[in-house]
Symmetry: C2
Subunit: 131 residues, 2 copies
Amino acid sequence: MLADDPLGASRESPEDLTPYREALKRLADDPNQQLVVAVRGNRVVGTLQLTLVPGLSRRGATRSIIEAVRIHAGERGSGLGSRLITWAVEESRRQNCQLVQLTSDASRTDAHRFYERLGFTASHIGFKLQL
Amino acid sequence: MLADDPLGASRESPEDLTPYREALKRLADDPNQQLVVAVRGNRVVGTLQLTLVPGLSRRGATRSIIEAVRIHAGERGSGLGSRLITWAVEESRRQNCQLVQLTSDASRTDAHRFYERLGFTASHIGFKLQL
């Protein structure tokens, strides 16, 4: 799913899983990370990563950050994306977060409408720097 | 500094430091968090929080997220903001991150030009949901 995407195609290497396995261990060892996988039958059809970030601002609020939202091409329009995001929002509430945030590539206009329908506000500009 | 800001004024409570002290403990206990404070004389004049987020995408890349960039009103234009961001980028390289990201409120147009001068690309839309 990572590589089956206009943005992901050039930056993944599914033929060598070693760096992915190492990253999975880093995720599993970090109590502030949750990686959720949706499975239908024997097939992984969706992923979402939820990160808790403590902070001082907003009266010492912890925020959560959603990353790595991927829905299998065959599942788009099935409501799976909504279920994953709704889970992430509810889990953030359970963890006493006061804010959920995510960024979406400016070219993904369908995704923007999707997040707005789920109650998110497009209030920020997301800046990235490749190292 | 948190409250001395058009966006922060309504969401901070400097008269009661208890929630901030509790949040500082959560930050100190999390090895993926670094909170940097710039001091001139006896006065805190700048802050920045750097969070490391492991992930599977981009060949298992770890990214860093910059939050809580605050510069004391009397220090604006002094180059302190550039020094803090430059530190965060260099530290992210030292920690083998492949990407540094941050979001900035859409109304902070001066900040957007500042991040672009430092090499960041405004490629994403930042969505937030208050809980």
